[in-house]
């Protein structure tokens, strides 16, 4: 599903999130290389992209950059869920939902309709 840089971005973010501490590129590369060969420079480039995008912040420790996610995975997830659930008219159509939410007193009407569907299916 994911290819190229996109996949590498996900892998880098994944590691930094699970470690929960700032880490230099070297460490990320070493961990990635346990699964597949990956060039140090490639990871440096992608980490730089992630920094430009605002997903990673970095500090110079000695001669190397040390990277850390700006937000936790949970914060990003909450943000995405918020986008997915918000229904401002101007944004409609960007995402397509399976179903929208309803209020409590409409549930009984909904359940009655569901019974009719079941009755129809068993006919």
């Amino acid at each position: 599903m994911l290819r190229g840089f996109g996949e590498l971005e996900a892998e880098i973010m994944d590691r930094l999130w699970s470690w929960g501490r700032p880490a230099p590129v070297r460490e990320v590369v070493d961990d990635l290389q346990r699964q597949r060969p990956v060039a140090y420079t490639t990871v440096t480039t992608v980490a730089d992209i992630l920094h430009t995008k605002g997903w990673l912040r970095r500090d110079k420790v000695g001669r190397a950059w040390v990277y850390e996610p700006t937000c936790t995975r949970e914060e990003y997830t909450a943000g995405l869920m918020h986008q997915a659930l918000e229904t401002t008219p101007d944004r409609a159509g960007a995402l397509l939902h399976f179903v929208d939410r309803i209020s409590g007193d409409e549930i009984s009407a909904l359940l009655a309709a569901l019974e009719q569907v079941k009755a129809r299916d068993t006919e």
Binding site: E9, A78, M81, Q83, A84, L96, F98, R101, A119
Partner: protein
């Protein structure tokens, strides 16, 4: 005369017909065609609006043409310029409209791209369902349509729904993606942005959205049973309504429309369906004829 006729036409297509057509079972029997018919009605309204503006600005450049010419009318006095068609006006109006639609489309596309970029990094891939899973307790299922489409399930949805309900929800989302439903929504959304207070805009937009949901429901029914789909709809719709989960997330104004949407969809699943193939021709005819109708009424040269 011409202007009066156009005014009448605008009132019928802009106000009366939308109120009559809302929730029509005939349209719901063929939801994708029904959505196309709504879009054709919007196009027809726009054509009539442009013609009305044109006739209002240059009333005497026209001898009565179209059907108007067949009614008794005052013959123009003095030298009459032949009824010329300023094609460049039409082209300019068309280009402007296309530009607005494109702008709205670009904005939606950008929102999708941003969402997807973050999604690909944050969400976990679920190979079983071919979907991305967001680690969030709130149950929800949605998709990002377009070329690089994604189906998204929240952890809450995975916990709430059983296997068959999940299959139904995922099949529904694939129905959206395969049917390119976002391309139907785009013109309806643009029309609603341009002419917000008009019943045709307000009702038309929500009806197009609902009909597309029904079209995706039909696509899902090729793979799952009606009961599975309906119970998945009910579980998810009710799942967020229980007190305490995600309070105040959904703005109140949108609730009513959304609620009738789910109920209408489940009730539709209970109705005996199929066997309405004959209407196909009528729908196609309507979709083609509606945008041309105002032109034929007031502008087409008559023999």
């Amino acid at each position: 005369m011409t202007l009066a006729l156009l005014g009448l036409y605008l009132a019928v297509t802009g106000v009366l017909l939308p109120r009559r057509m809302a929730g029509s079972a005939r349209l719901q029997a063929r939801p994708a065609a029904g959505a196309a018919l709504w879009l054709a009605l919007m196009a027809s309204f726009l054509v009539a609006l442009l013609l009305a503006a044109h006739h209002a600005v240059e009333p005497f450049a026209h001898e009565p043409a179209g059907l108007v010419g067949l009614f008794p009318h005052v013959e123009p006095t003095g030298p009459v310029t032949a009824h010329t068609h300023d094609w460049w006006l039409l082209a300019a109006a068309g280009t402007a409209l296309a530009a607005v639609v494109a702008a709205v489309g670009v904005r939606a596309g950008r929102a999708r791209r941003r969402h997807r970029a973050l999604l690909d990094v944050v969400a976990v891939r679920d190979r079983r369902w071919g979907a991305l899973v967001l680690e969030h307790a709130h149950p929800t299922v949605y998709c990002l349509p377009g070329r690089r489409s994604r189906v998204v399930l929240s952890r809450g949805a995975l916990q709430l729904l059983d296997e068959r309900q999940l299959a139904a929800a995922v099949a529904h989302e694939h129905g959206h993606i395969r049917g390119r439903h976002h391309l139907f929504r785009l013109p309806a959304d643009t029309f609603a942005l341009l002419l917000r207070p008009l019943p045709l805009a307000r009702i038309g937009r929500s009806e197009v959205a609902l009909l597309l949901e029904m079209a995706a429901d039909d696509a899902a029914l090729a793979q799952v049973s009606r009961t599975d789909l309906a119970s998945a709809l009910c579980s998810l719709a009710a799942g967020g309504a229980t007190p305490g989960s995600a309070p105040g997330r959904t703005p109140g104004g949108a609730l009513g429309v959304a609620a009738t949407g789910v109920l209408a969809r489940v009730r539709r699943l209970a109705r005996p369906g199929g066997g309405q193939r004959r209407r196909q021709l009528a729908f196609r005819l309507g979709v083609v004829a509606l945008p041309l109708l105002p032109y034929l009424l007031v502008c087409a040269p008559h023999p």
